[in-house]
């Protein structure tokens, strides 16, 4: 499993994850609340600067991650152009691009372990209230481990289908695939119990 963290080292990688996430929340909230065009365009320019500072390759990777947004940006711009003004459309599109760009930047420059570290710190107070956070932590580890396992089993199911029938396997492989997941869960549950159960 490859996380979305960028392999290109940037100064942003060295910032601690907690404050980075807090700043992201504050800026996103600010962007949602503001209606000012200059703030929206300024935010977009600032986010673009954050991407460009570490170099061209990093900025290109960042742009690539924003690709799925293009159709939305076009529709939003056109809709606002027709109902109000083009300028307003540009402002809202800029706000969206800036907010998603900044969030992507945090994901690209924060390692998975550091993210999980922040999660653990956020959950610590709940732990004192008696919630079993160990269950969540082991569940996260299990999902990360089992995605590739299920992907391989899914591929085997698809190949078996191709050996028997013509055409692409459609939704019919989903039911046996789900059964495989249920079986795996039963085995894992047994293994967990044998090793002392879910940690507190």
């Amino acid at each position: 499993m490859i996380a979305l963290t960028s392999p290109i080292e940037t100064p942003w990688h060295r910032l601690p994850a907690g404050p980075k996430l807090a700043l992201l929340c504050a800026v996103t909230l600010g962007l949602v609340l503001t209606g000012s065009l200059s703030v929206q365009l300024g935010a977009l320019a600032a986010v673009a600067g954050l991407y460009l500072l570490p170099g061209r390759d990093f900025a290109r990777a960042g742009l690539w991650a924003l690709r799925p947004l293009i159709p939305f940006l076009v529709v939003i711009f056109l809709w606002h152009w027709f109902t109000e003004t083009a300028l307003q459309g540009a402002g809202i599109a800029a706000r969206l691009l800036a907010a998603v760009g900044l969030a992507n930047l945090v994901t690209m420059t924060t390692r998975l372990d550091d993210m999980i570290g922040v999660l653990r710190r956020v959950l610590a107070p709940l732990r004192r209230l008696g919630l079993r956070t160990g269950a969540l932590e082991i569940a996260i580890a299990m999902v990360i481990r089992f995605i590739p396992v299920l992907a391989i089993k899914g591929r085997a199911l698809t190949e078996a289908w191709r050996a028997r029938a013509k055409g692409r396997p459609g939704w019919r492989v989903v039911a046996p695939f789900t059964l495989l997941a249920i079986d795996d869960a039963e085995h894992v549950a047994e293994a967990l119990r044998a090793r002392g159960g879910v940690p507190r």
Binding site: V32, P68, F72, A103, I140, I147, A175, E186
Partner: protein, 181 residues
């Protein structure tokens, strides 16, 4: 406890694994991602509470930075994007589908799962979805609702498929449907 944790984790992984499958083309030529089928199956198979928790766990891993959404998307950016409402609605949709399965015990699995998927995967899912789109895109609610209309036929087909798959599971292994136990 162990069994619940394992089932929730494995179904979260199942949603992700279904997202890796390229788009399915349904009999009517409607392209759908298998991923949203996975979300509905969490509800119809695991039941309301466990199903919603499995979807939440999946979303948590997306937020932590894994590219698990269909098309390899993920990270915090998707929670700032125009489809954020649908992500918020996913666990609610699974919960609703599971609740219908648990409550309507007299109704055959096929029909309960179809009804649950329509109520969860269309009615309940589209409310936060439309609100999210309206907020992020600065559109009015009626305009945002109209933008969603083209997706309804595909979602109806998907609800039918969820029903057929859930009923198939019930036939192949009756005790696998935890929502009915």
């Amino acid at each position: 406890m162990e069994r619940n944790v394992a089932l929730i984790a494995l179904f979260a992984a199942l949603i992700a694994a279904l997202g890796l499958i390229p788009q399915l083309v349904l009999p009517f030529g409607v392209p759908v991602t298998a991923q949203s089928l996975g979300v509905m199956l969490c509800g119809t198979v695991l039941g309301a509470r466990r199903g919603a928790l499995a979807v939440l766990l999946f979303l948590l891993l997306v937020a932590l930075g894994l590219p698990l959404l269909a098309g390899g998307r993920g990270g915090l950016g998707v929670f700032a994007g125009p489809t954020v409402g649908f992500l918020v609605g996913f666990p609610m949709a699974a919960f609703t589908a599971g609740l219908i399965m648990e409550r309507w015990r007299a109704v055959p699995v096929l029909w309960a799962a179809i009804a649950g998927s329509i109520l969860g995967g269309i009615v309940v899912l589209y409310i936060p979805g439309i609100i999210g789109l309206a907020l992020v895109a600065g559109m009015t609610l009626p305009a945002a609702s109209a933008a969603m209309l083209p997706f309804i036929p595909g979602d109806l087909v998907k609800a039918g498929l969820t029903g057929v798959i859930t009923a198939g599971l019930a036939r192949a292994r009756p005790d696998s449907l935890l929502s009915r136990r």
